[in-house]
Symmetry: C2
Subunit: 433 residues, 2 copies
């Protein structure tokens, strides 16, 4: 690139899959990448830009002027085009849309821009293959040939009635194997599963995973066929959800990777660390209240890590089991009261074993009996409370529309730590007075 050996670059990249070029360009700086990409065919250029990481792409788009972006958008499917438009400033976005010469594409894009990107409507593409139920097989194959020019992958042919309502599907295989005298209405299947525009992407992913779909049609509330969602987008969503959950659980506030700048990494990590430190400082002040007890029996302090670690582990385990259930909803859900009773039963069992274990350890290593009893009692209570909190917090977060994984993150963990400490010192206080 530095030598501007254009012929060599073009020759090297010829025939290389655009996804591979994108992987390479993600690592280059913007100027070099732009230099390389300008040498390529506009259609390939559009694909490469579409495949870039979101943050790389945003930097990238700033280096292009409006006509260039318009050209890129022209080559992309409506859903990918909308993703790129959403990364542009409003003014530039309007200019790009106004500059599109394909009327149908413009209408499709304007339609898709209405949807938030976390619902089915925001994930769908307008490009699909549909057949009217009244068509003959011949006409159908003819129309598919025409429609197929805009559609990269066919999967299913959706069958609609005269009002554009989705009423069935037919596979390409069946269409090819059918004799020419038949009509669409003779061969189509009526059991078509569709998602509605307002369904969350998580629900869409569940549907596609359950039925092993490669594509699912999207309908509006009237049942009109509006678009389709393909599995490649859903796979990305599933991976992103998992990554986001891991980030939330480990207290990282942005989508950072190891090769981001020191400044970005610090900014993503510091807020949650500060929450932890504030929590720790509150703990310190709280213990200050019990200084008299601590001076009398210093050994109380020895068991703080044990109480807190166990409370933390129990809380995160409980939240994790709830997350699991939320991710794979069961057909029959038990009542909340029954679920909580079961959680408390498991907690009581675990708490009893742990409390006896600690009491045993203490006795073997010659600990004082009264303190040992205090520690074991407090531990039992902490396990119960942490189980309860760990179960109820993700449910509450979920019902208010927050990501339930937050319950395993540092904020809730900090609050649980404080609670555990409070229970411990309250138990100490009760026994000593």
């Amino acid at each position: 690139v530095d030598n501007h050996d254009d012929a060599f670059i073009v020759q090297t990249l010829e025939g290389v899959n655009s996804a591979d070029v994108s992987t390479l360009l993600n690592e280059f700086d913007t100027d070099d990448s732009k230099y390389v990409i300008d040498l390529l065919d506009p259609e390939i250029r559009a694909e490469i830009i579409n495949d870039l990481d979101e943050d790389t792409r945003e930097k990238f788009l700033r280096a292009f002027d409006t006509p260039q972006i318009t050209e890129i958008v022209n080559y992309l499917d409506s859903d990918d085009a909308v993703d790129i438009l959403n990364e542009l400033p409003v003014k530039e976005r309007e200019e790009v849309i106004a500059g599109l010469d394909n009327q149908e594409k413009e209408a499709n894009i304007l339609d898709l821009l209405r949807y938030e990107d976390d619902i089915a409507g925001g994930l769908m593409a307008k490009e699909l293959i549909k057949a009217n139920v009244n068509w003959s097989i011949d006409r159908c194959i003819e129309e598919i040939r025409r429609q197929a020019e805009n559609v990269e992958k066919i999967f299913q042919i959706y069958v609609v009635d005269n009002e554009e309502k989705l009423i069935g599907k037919v596979s390409l295989k069946k269409l090819i194997l059918a004799t020419n005298e038949k009509r669409v209405e003779d061969i189509y299947e009526t059991d078509v599963i569709a998602v509605e525009t307002y369904m969350s992407v998580e629900e869409v992913a569940q549907v596609m995973r359950k039925y092993d779909f490669e594509a699912v049609p999207v309908v509006n509330v009237q049942g009109k066929l509006l678009g389709r969602i393909t599995i490649d987008d859903v796979v990305d969503v599933i991976s992103e959800i998992a990554e986001e959950e891991r980030q939330i659980m480990s207290g990282i506030s942005e989508d950072v990777e190891e090769d981001d700048s020191v400044w970005m990494l610090t900014r993503a990590r510091l807020p949650w660390l500060i929450i932890g430190v504030v929590g720790g400082f509150v703990s310190a002040k709280f213990m200050g209240v019990f200084e008299a007890e601590l001076i009398r029996i210093t050994a109380i302090a020895f068991f703080i890590p044990l109480i807190q670690a166990t409370g933390g582990n129990v809380g995160i385990q409980s939240s994790s089991i709830v997350l699991q259930t939320l991710a794979n909803p069961s057909a029959f859900s038990e009542s909340l009261v029954r679920r909580l009773l079961k959680v408390l039963l498991v907690a009581a069992l675990n708490g009893l074993v742990l409390a006896l274990l600690v009491y045993g350890f203490n006795m073997i290593t010659g600990g004082e009996i009264s303190l040992s009893i205090i520690v074991s009692c407090a531990l039992f209570c902490v396990v119960l409370v942490a189980s309860f909190m760990g179960t109820i917090t993700p449910l509450i977060l979920d019902s208010f529309g927050f990501n339930p994984a937050l319950a395993s993150g540092p904020f809730i963990t900090t609050i649980n730590d404080l609670l555990g400490l409070g229970i411990y010192f309250y138990t100490v206080h009760l026994f000593l007075s």
Copy 2:
């Protein structure tokens, strides 16, 4: 079901998608389910059993005798058949295979049984559509019609040479649009991406996600086409990997769900809780060594939660960033030394901010200067060490073939807690003496 109203059951389930029936049966007990399923058509029965949860299915298969299982296996694709066979005792497995009347299916299944289920070979199905490069389009369409009887979804037609080596692909769309005079060699594309049998399922998932594939061909080391992996299996794998990671991070040792028995839930959770308790007990004994210092300055104890919480948070954040990088490997990887230097730089920055913050808090709330300095110094060191450990542990685990997510689990966390406590008390000891 209790009324044995067979006609009603059959009628109700008629036309219902088998995935929906499976979801229902997962909630029933085995006897009721078996009763329902015996009423259904054998092909649908096979699909339903294939769609069941793994643990439900295992219970289920025990209720069937060998001829019944043989019938089920006969209806399934080779990859799904192998999954079911792997759940059977060896003797029964042999009987089922011996009982298959389709020679080709038997050979396919025996071939697939050789592979572990965490590599590409274990995920692939033998069913696919292939075309010899020398065929005419007519012959090709003829052969596809024949092969399509065994293949549920076509996606791509793989092109092989006379030695069965994979040399290209052609889409069904292109084949239909091609004129009849042409031959396969005129229209096929040579840039086909395949995975090899020994690749890990994670790598397969990465390849399919990167190139937006619905199916990827599997070749052996000689390049011979052996099978294909479809996206529905990979979606399941991606979801399972995410679930497994969450379980490991939260210290749950088995694949439990909320509706499992109290006993199973306890058994899955207790081992990691005991590790935490043992760690806490070691902490207690460790602090016992410093009892003299603690009696002299009780306030030392106040800051134990702060030190441990921060160390824990920093460690998990660091591990999470490494996990992110391992999950999305970059094209150019920096050297380990450079990566660690960067980690330490970020840690130093975070540590400095946190140490100053705590010092500020302490000064504002009238803390003692010497203790405040000790706490801030220890905190800075803990952040550095926890960052280093959090980064290096998943890398070490990964290089020894363990799941790197273990680094965020309770075992490593417990060790880090002890380390943090050690650093804190060593700092205290240094300053006081």
